[in-house]
Amino acid sequence: MSTRKKVLWWIGGAVIVLYALFPIAWIISISLKAPADIANGQFAPTKVSWQNYRDILTGSASDLFLPALRNSFGICLIATAISCLLAMFAAYAIARLDFRGKRLILSTALGVAIFPVISIVTPLFNVWRQIGLYDTWPGLILPYLSLTLPISIWTMSAFFREIPWEMEQAAQVDGATTWQAFRKVIVPLATPGVFTTAIIAFFIAWNDFVYGIVLTSTEAARPVPAALGLFSGASQFEDPTGAIAAAAVIVTIPVVVLVLLFQRRIVAGLTNGAVKG
């Protein structure tokens, strides 16, 4: 490839990186602005200030932010774990077994995936308050499954279809027990698919806003996206721009770390192994 072409590729790549990271850079920049600097009309802070981070981590807003962070992590991890577990069984059945109803299950997953969340959140609120699930962890974990399960079932069944299941039988022929064959042969082959699915499911649960604002009301279960709307400035009439930006940066860190570590897997998961990086 010619040097000129190479340079063009590099420029193209740089443009894409700039496109993707610019808003992130901006929110980081605003999170480093002192309250009086917020309205400076410039991209960068006049002087870097850690005030906003102090506010949300140890200061006045920490009572709001830290429990929300704990809730977000707890609820999203549990929802991810449950949906991966359920999806694992379902995907195994779909990939390996031939049974009537398979189409029904996949169509249902499709239907649930296109469901407008807002349509079910009010009835859920009504039921939740009657059975005491309102503002609790299970009260969010259950609805989160409606977001994470369909994608988990699909992604995982696509992965499982690619597993050479014959190897299990081969191992058994070689003298391994069923359990050994499963553990030594199938589990290592299936783990990447399960893991990738878990990351994608986690992203989706982490992103939720509607369930978070409607089905919670205290720090008992309120997740971070819903808590962002509750920050206050120095008084109730002042805008909490800096605190929101700092909290936004903190909740973005986990997803960025996941992306950087597992980008290849995530792409494969989203496109179902159609592209080998």
């Binding site: 002192a34 309250p35 009086a36 600097d37 309205a39 006045s60 009572d63 709001l64 830290l66 609120f125 308050r129 009657q130 309102y134 503002d135 409607v214 009301s217 205290t218 720090e219 709307g229 509750l230 920050f231 206050s232 400035g233 120095a234 008084s235 109730q236 009439f237 002042e238 805008d239 909490p240």
Partner: protein, 451 residues
């Protein structure tokens, strides 16, 4: 911390769990474990609340930490009778209402005390979400309280809330600009004069043109100042509510809004209190209608070195502007009153705590540190208050004249409809906007239209 858990025994648990709550957050888990043990212990012991320590949950609106401090002061003063924990509500008062109603509709018994925005009090009272105020408490907490705060706590001629702090807007101005414009700020000014002065001096009037509750606050103050009322006759049946939006007063109010929008700056239709004060501090606006928090904000900005000391030195303040020259203005009334949740299991303790929270001392503290004015008139004579807030006498006078927003069970519908029709202020047609708003409110209350 196994020791703390070990110490806990039914009966002695209250003291130790209270002490541990003051320790580092890391130890909070232990404290709550202890609290659980205590709860289990007392349940097993007698199965009923024997008047021992009760933990009260106080839902507070966001502030600069003042209510949390008052909570711990009262907990201390109660000497074991009760412990107050705070839980924070959203920033927008409409969202506070949504969240509280959702919880109360779920018959949540963890809601003991609420800091409630006054316009929503009728709705809560009518839905039986509030525990009735005992007569003796009602008598004590209304003593020496400014009238607007008592009005704001009353529904159907009965006190349903404990007046806490009372807010009102003042007209803030830059002395230099007012002087240059030849305005005599010792005398009451009218909106017309302000608009003329702003035009002449090429400056802005900062007011809340944003589509939010603040717009209703402004509209209501204008209609009341012009001698009218948004709701002239309220009624139990939404269809019988009589609106005053087509009155001359309401037409005048719309005229004022539109003329102010012409000198309200480029972002008038999205400007809220915070944007207003930024414009005022930066000098884009020389006149501003805003709550007293702006003073505390300017002082702390000077202290932090982010604002020139000369800026607040130029601040002037006076009564809310008049709509009609010869008619006293009716400034906005805001603030927070305390209510006790109907499903609370500690109603008596909650009212005891409410009385402590609204004590003169705590109100003065809250005023001085958080800039939220007191509802008790005597606080305004406190030398400490006067030192920090030289505006105190003006605020007090403003509160005496302040007009509450329409009192109705359907306040949020009324306010929402007003915000829809009166926004943006620049596109108002004083002759027809009132009529459209009336029609919309009636249709919405009859359930014939969306909002």
């Amino acid at each position: 911390m196994p020791k703390a858990v070990g110490q806990v025994r039914p009966g002695t648990g209250s003291a130790s769990s209270r002490r541990s709550r003051r320790r580092s957050p890391r130890q909070r888990g232990v404290a709550s474990a202890a609290a659980l043990l205590v709860a289990a212990g007392t349940l097993a012991a007698c199965g009923s609340d024997s008047g021992g320590a009760s933990t009260l949950t106080w839902y507070i609106n966001p502030d600069s930490g003042g209510q949390a401090e008052i909570a711990s002061r009262c907990t201390e003063a109660a000497d074991g009778a009760y412990t107050i924990q705070t839980a924070q509500l959203p920033r927008e008062s409409s969202q506070q209402r949504e969240q509280l109603i959702r919880r109360l509709a779920a018959e949540d018994n963890s809601i003991d005390l609420i800091s409630l925005d006054p316009p929503y009090i009728p709705e809560f009272a009518e839905a039986n979400f509030l525990a009735p105020v005992p007569d003796d408490v009602a008598e004590r907490v209304t003593e020496g309280v400014v009238q607007s705060a008592i009005d704001g706590s009353t529904w159907n001629d009965e006190l349903v809330a404990v007046p806490f702090w009372a807010n009102t807007q003042l007209l803030w101005y830059k002395q230099s600009v007012a002087e240059a414009a030849g305005l005599d700020m010792e005398q009451p000014v009218t909106w017309e004069q302000l608009v003329e002065a702003a035009e002449a001096q090429d400056t802005q009037i900062a007011a809340q043109g944003i589509r939010a509750e603040a717009l209703t606050v402004w509209l209501n103050a204008l209609v009341e100042s012009a001698g009218g009322s948004i709701i002239e006759e309220t009624a139990d049946d939404p269809e019988d509510i009589e609106l005053g939006l087509e009155s001359d007063a309401a037409v005048r109010a719309a005229e004022v809004m539109r003329s102010v929008s012409t000198v309200g700056g480029p972002a008038f239709s999205t400007a809220g209190e915070d944007a207003n004060v930024t414009d005022f501090e930066e000098g884009d606006a020389a006149f501003m209608l805003n709550w007293p928090f702006v003073w505390g904000r300017a002082l702390s900005a000077v202290e932090a070195g982010t604002l020139e000391a000369s800026v607040p030195e130029d601040y002037g303040w006076t009564q809310y502007p008049r709509v009609n020259e010869d008619e006293e203005s009716r400034p906005p009334y805001g603030g927070i009153n305390l209510v006790v949740g109907a499903y609370s299991q500690n109603v008596d303790a909650a009212y005891e705590a409410a009385e402590c929270i609204v004590s003169e001392e705590n109100q003065a503290y809250y005023f001085v540190t958080n800039g939220n004015p007191a509802s008790k008139a005597s606080v305004y004579d406190d030398p400490e208050v006067l030192e920090v807030f030289p505006q105190a006498p003006v605020i007090r006078e403003s509160l005496e004249n302040a007009a509450p927003r329409p009192q109705t069970v359907y306040y949020s519908e009324v306010s929402g409809a007003l915000q829809r029709e009166y926004h943006p202020a620049s596109s108002l047609d004083p002759g027809s906007t009132g009529e459209q708003a009336s029609e919309l409110i009636s249709a919405v209350l009859r359930g014939e239209q969306l909002l």
